[in-house]
């Protein structure tokens, strides 16, 4: 099979061009407008039997619909029309070759129209696997060295030396290295640094680190350059004492985010006012806060970006219960009156936090350390967390639909997919002043490892789920793709 069509199609293209195919495709295969959908809904019936299929085809020479098989063949015999478009997939059937044929030009048209359709319906663009272009194909042929990934591979696993209470850094680095989308970004060499070679860019440093982790070497790494860079750019973390892993995580994201912007033109920086650096693309979500005035029921809504969600640990419970509490409407009481713009007066109100947009990586911070003027303590209560988490109940849209009592419509979201999978857990062992951090990371699907500084050991999912849990990292199970067609 090749993608240069057949002689019959090439003759047709020479006489009529690609327009007939474009029109049939845009109206009856991938409807790019409401009008097209109306035509498709009402007129796609077999001219011979009046049915809607199966496998409806359209004649490319004249206006004629027919089911595949007998009715297509009848038409091709009587009219001598040999080319047909499959209305489900847009493929071309040639009755003379008696098979589907593939033409590069038509395939490109089909792809563009499919993207337009997805855009007009507001759905995720169908995933198209990577195909090497000519240069890449040549490079692959030239470089014959291949690495085969077997089911029991230890690829991507490497211990990290403790440089004197730097386990807080090690466990966060292990987490970042095993963040699937971040790994794909760096191994795809997507970071193009404008300050290259200066040794001051943390993103470049992380990029090098990924190469080290995936080089196949097994000796533990020493992260002195990374530590130094973070000390320089996040001064509050400098020093040799133990730091809070959560604080380190947020500070690292912040420095990475700032360095991603180094040398980037202002025009490409922002899209809809939002930063689209890799850190923000992966980690940023939108937290919606609705403040409702108890007198006039007026709502004031604000949306703030977040990189992680800090959850109170009241006692034994579950992550879902913590999130449920986090997104519950809270009465602010008479001591905390807020000025209502509607009433023009200070009123009592309720406040509710919900998730307006979800990040690709959802990071949860269980607030196990309590610092108050009287006492500093660690709360070791068991909080269970699932391997698979559906975030839908905590979304703003869902909450609205559930809270509206007279709501007749089913909550939106048949097509929404907010499932997340656990991929890393950071644990704090010991007490507040003499503690140690370790991390569990998912190296591949169903394959977990415990990272304790320079020691890497295989772990079971059960062991991960039974651990105390301080920072929990979830990755979106199914990725959505945006279209780039205008």
């Amino acid at each position: 099979m090749n993608d240069s069509g057949c002689i019959h199609l090439n003759n047709f293209k020479a006489a009529k061009g690609t327009n007939p195919y474009k029109i049939v495709h845009a109206f009856f295969v991938s409807c790019t407008s409401y009008e097209a959908r109306r035509y498709k809904a009402t007129s796609c019936l077999c001219f011979a039997c009046g049915q809607t299929g199966p496998r409806m085809h359209s004649c490319l020479h004249c206006i004629y619909f027919a089911c595949y098989g007998g009715h297509v063949l009848d038409h091709s015999k009587t009219k001598k029309h040999f080319l047909y478009v499959d209305l489900s997939y847009g493929n071309i059937f040639c009755a003379q070759c008696q098979d589907y044929i593939y033409d590069r030009e038509f395939t490109d048209i089909s792809r563009t129209l499919r993207l337009k359709e997805a855009k007009s319906l507001g759905i995720s663009v169908p995933f198209t696997p990577w195909l090497p272009n000519n240069n890449e194909a040549m490079a692959l042929r030239r470089l014959r060295k291949r690495r085969l990934i077997s089911p029991h591979t230890t690829i991507g696993l490497r211990g990290l030396q403790n440089l004197g209470s730097t386990c807080f850094m090690n466990c966060i680095v292990q987490t970042l290295i095993h963040t699937p989308l971040l790994r794909d970004y760096f191994l795809g060499e997507k970071h193009k640094c404008k300050t290259q070679g200066s040794g001051k860019c943390l993103v470049c440093e992380v990029s090098k680190l990924f190469q080290e982790f995936y080089s196949g070497a097994k000796t533990p790494l020493t992260l002195h350059r990374l530590l130094h860079l973070i000390w320089t750019h996040a001064r509050h973390l400098a020093g040799y004492e133990q730091q809070d892993a959560h604080e380190f995580f947020i500070a690292t994201l912040d420095v990475l985010h700032r360095h991603c912007m180094n040398g980037v033109e202002d025009t490409e920086k922002k899209e809809n006012g939002r930063c689209n650096c890799i850190i923000d693309q992966i980690f940023t979500g939108g937290l919606q806060s609705d403040v409702v005035c108890t007198s006039c029921s007026g709502v004031s809504t604000t949306i703030d970006p977040f990189w992680d969600i800090s959850l109170d640990v009241a006692g034994p419970g579950s992550l879902q219960a913590c999130l449920e509490r986090f997104t519950r409407a809270e009465h602010l009481g008479s001591a905390a009156k807020i000025k209502c713009s509607n009433c023009r007066a200070y009123r009592e109100s309720t406040k509710q936090l919900t998730l307006e947009t979800l990040p690709i990586v959802a990071s949860f911070h269980l607030k196990r350390f309590e610092h108050s003027s009287q006492i500093d303590r660690k709360i070791s209560a068991f909080v269970s967390f699932p391997a698979e988490l559906d975030m839908t109940p905590f979304m703003s849209t869902h909450r609205r639909a559930v809270d509206a009592a007279d709501n007749n419509n089913a909550p939106e979201g048949i097509f929404e997919d907010n499932r997340y999978s656990l991929f890393a857990v950071v644990n704090h062992l010991g007490s507040l002043d003499a503690g140690h951090y370790t991390a569990y990371v998912r190296q591949m699907k169903g394959s977990w490892f415990k990272c304790d500084d320079h020691m890497i050991t295989r772990a079971s999912l059960r062991e991960v789920l039974d651990s105390e849990g301080y920072l929990l990292f979830y990755h979106k199970t199914v990725l959505e793709y945006e279209c780039e067609v205008s």
Binding site: S30, C31, Y34, R37, R38, K40, A41, T42, Q51, T52, Q98, D99, Y100, E117, A118, S120, L121, I123, S124, P126, F127, N409, A410, I414, F415, D417, T477, V478
Partner: protein, 93 residues
């Protein structure tokens, strides 16, 4: 097709929901590995017929029975349930 099912069919196309359901199904089939399994089945048929011209129809007749049987019940159930809920809630509009 009965009048009712024709109307339901047309409505699904008109609203674009038919494409949305198709996309959902496509995703589920990729997620559960069905597409890869079917690809392997196709490769086997092509290998068996090496040298001959393998047509789409040949692939279809050989692969369809197994491919249909490989669709996980959970996927069928989810789609059926969602379609049902969807059609019932759309009725009054």
């Amino acid at each position: 097709m009965t009048v009712n099912s024709t109307i339901a069919h047309q409505r699904l196309i008109l609203s674009g929901d038919r494409e949305r359901f198709k996309e959902l199904l496509r995703r589920r089939l990729i997620e559960c590995g069905w597409r890869d399994q079917v690809r392997m089945l196709c490769r086997e048929v092509v290998k068996e017929n090496e040298g001959n011209n393998v047509t789409f129809d040949l692939l279809l007749t050989r692969v369809t029975p197994q491919a249909r049987a490989l669709v996980p019940d959970s996927v069928k159930k989810e789609l059926l349930l969602k379609l049902k809920t969807h059609l019932l809630t759309q009725k009054d509009q």
